[in-house]
Amino acid sequence: MTVLLQQILDGLTAGVLYAAIALSLVLVYRTSKLVNFAQGELATFGAFLTWQFHDWGLPLSVALPASVAVSFVAGALMERTLIRPLLESSNHLGLFIVCLGVLVTLLQVEAWIWGYQVKEMPNVAEGPPIALGPTMISRQNVVIIAACVLIAVALWFLFQRTRFGLAMRAASDNTPSANLLGLPVTATLTFSWGIAAVIGTLMASLVAPNQFLQPGMLLPVLLYSVAAATLGGLDSPVGAIVGGLVVGVVENLAGTYVPGIGQDFKQAVAFAIIMIVLLARPQGLFGSRTVVRV
């Protein structure tokens, strides 16, 4: 029983990371209607920046905000320079190829600058693990969960309680009408990409001590996050969080209890989730259904 509870808790902790990356995928999808496959690698790059700032002697409390700020600019710039021109000519094949190109470029730039040697990233919270009933959770994981909750609350506030958030929702809901109303549609696009990059960098920097910081650190996570976003519905932030937690728990339990899957083969679970959801319910659990008129 304790093992089961511990596995579920571990799954939830892993799921928080999937949820966060899925959330950035959803933010981008809502505004630009594309799945940014480079999202995970952007986050890894941000984690490398945090490590680099820390290595230059800055305390983590300065290094983390600094790299978060840099990644906001980087995400916004990527949207402005690489995505916008192709989006305007609605070249979907081109967008897909450019996202993959950015993924590979970032991966190799990381390898070029920092090499494949795993970098030692300090924990934000040190100390012995905390006991939760019969289960244990490390202090760093508590921080990670707290950060994810914070992100979710901040996004909820942004979308539901601010004028700019309202404009963002309008722009993703009905772009032509939003344009006609004089809403800053292009600004919301750029802002979404920046926020997505910020979420990635923040979470990647926090999980880097556990995940072994090296190029391609979040490639496996990208798979789970795509599964999470698909399960929750690609245009639903709530769905991304629920999907991430479900995928984390299912993947962890399947790896432990289903014979023949094991720890290495858990990725196949994510693949199966993607395939089943897309076939049985393409809009996911919380996504909005698209109807095409021919």
Binding site: N91, G101, L103, W112, L219, L222, F265, F271
Partner: protein, 339 residues
């Protein structure tokens, strides 16, 4: 500069070279390809054979992406499938190595068809997600079936020895096999992309709704094209084992899928000769950049993907068309004036 960019950005029909020109070029190129291996170093022949291996995959992707407009990143999986069919049958079980080619083609076709049945009903976006997921799990799939594939340790092979009567070395013999398969595949793709099937494919790419009302069944045509392209990827996997004589799980990472995509993008989507140019780029570029840094070749793939989408969306073939088209036109005009 802007004029050049505009010229390259326009979609153009493929060049209709005069018959004598394409015939002489064909004969000269084939002659060079047949003669060159006899006088070059084994390393050069191995690289040329690799160009053929990539070209076979590229021809399949040409049918799928260029002609039918479906995206797939999952062809690395089918490439690995073919490689392991060859390694297990010809290597471990000791079958004649050439037999691996038809077996791999059949297995690749069957698995591709079964995979494509559900996958091709998805929207293009979902298909790209599913095939990316397939590419990401391929290494762990191989490691899962460790007892057959020997996972990361891999299988060392000793196959494709040249028959004694030819007096050739292995690298020369392997190159000739690869060249023969590539030529056959090229001819097959050429025939497929003309005629009824070719028109059906292009119809689906350009406007699925219109194609459907013309009596084309999207699911049948797409499944057929997908299965054909995966069969070609599997055949290329077999050729790959002839060239490298070794297979291991780590050769089939996402990088391989990216290399395939880079090949099609650099060569030019929807152009058959472009595939060969793309294959040459993908094989030779790493050996040029290896001196700078070991990450440089991967970086070049990424930069090429982005740069080509912006500067030359129709690839090198598009550039050749933009340059060659007006030249051919002028020639025809002159011929018209003389009459």
């Amino acid at each position: 500069m802007n004029r050049i960019l505009r010229a390259v950005h326009k979609p153009r029909p493929s060049l209709e070279l005069p018959a004598w020109l394409s015939l002489t070029t064909g004969v000269i190129v084939l002659g060079c390809l047949l003669y060159a291996p006899l006088i070059s170093a084994p390393y050069a022949n191995t690289q040329r054979a690799l160009v053929c291996v990539y070209a076979v995959v590229g021809l399949g992707l040409h049918l799928l992406t260029g002609m039918t407009g479906q995206i797939s990143l999952g062809h690395g999986f089918f490439f690995a499938l073919g490689a392991y069919v060859s390694a297990v049958l010809a290597g471990t079980a000791g079958w004649p190595y050439l037999l691996a080619i038809p077996v791999a083609a059949a297995v690749g076709w069957g698995v591709g068809f079964v995979f494509g049945l559900p996958a091709l009903r998805l929207s293009p976006l979902s298909l790209s997600v599913v095939t990316l997921a397939l590419a990401l799990i391929t290494p762990s799939l191989i490691k899962r079936f460790d007892d057959v594939t020997h996972g990361a340790r891999g299988i060392a092979l000793d196959i494709a020895a040249p028959p004694a009567w030819t007096g050739l070395d292995r690298d020369q013999w392997v190159f000739y096999i690869c060249l023969a398969v590539t030529t056959l595949t090229g001819v097959m793709c050429r025939l497929l992309s003309r005629g009824r099937t070719g028109r059906a494919m292009r119809g689906l790419r350009d406007n699925e709704a219109v194609a459907t009302t013309m009596g084309i069944r999207p699911s049948t045509t797409k499944s057929f094209v997908f299965a054909t392209s995966t069969a070609l990827a599997a055949v290329a996997g077999v050729l790959y084992t002839y060239v490298t004589q070794f297979v291991a799980a780590d050769a089939f990472h996402l990088t391989l899928a990216i290399a395939f995509l880079t090949m099609v993008v650099v060569g030019g989507l929807g152009s058959l000769p472009g595939v060969i140019l793309g294959a040459i780029f993908v094989v030779y570029m790493p050996s040029w950049t290896a001196e700078i840094n070991e990450s440089a070749s991967g970086l070049m793939y990424g930069v090429a993907l982005v740069a080509f989408m912006f500067l030359m969306p129709y690839g090198v073939a598009g550039l050749l068309r933009a340059v060659g088209g007006p030249l051919l036109q002028r020639r025809e005009q002159r011929a018209g004036q003389q009459e």
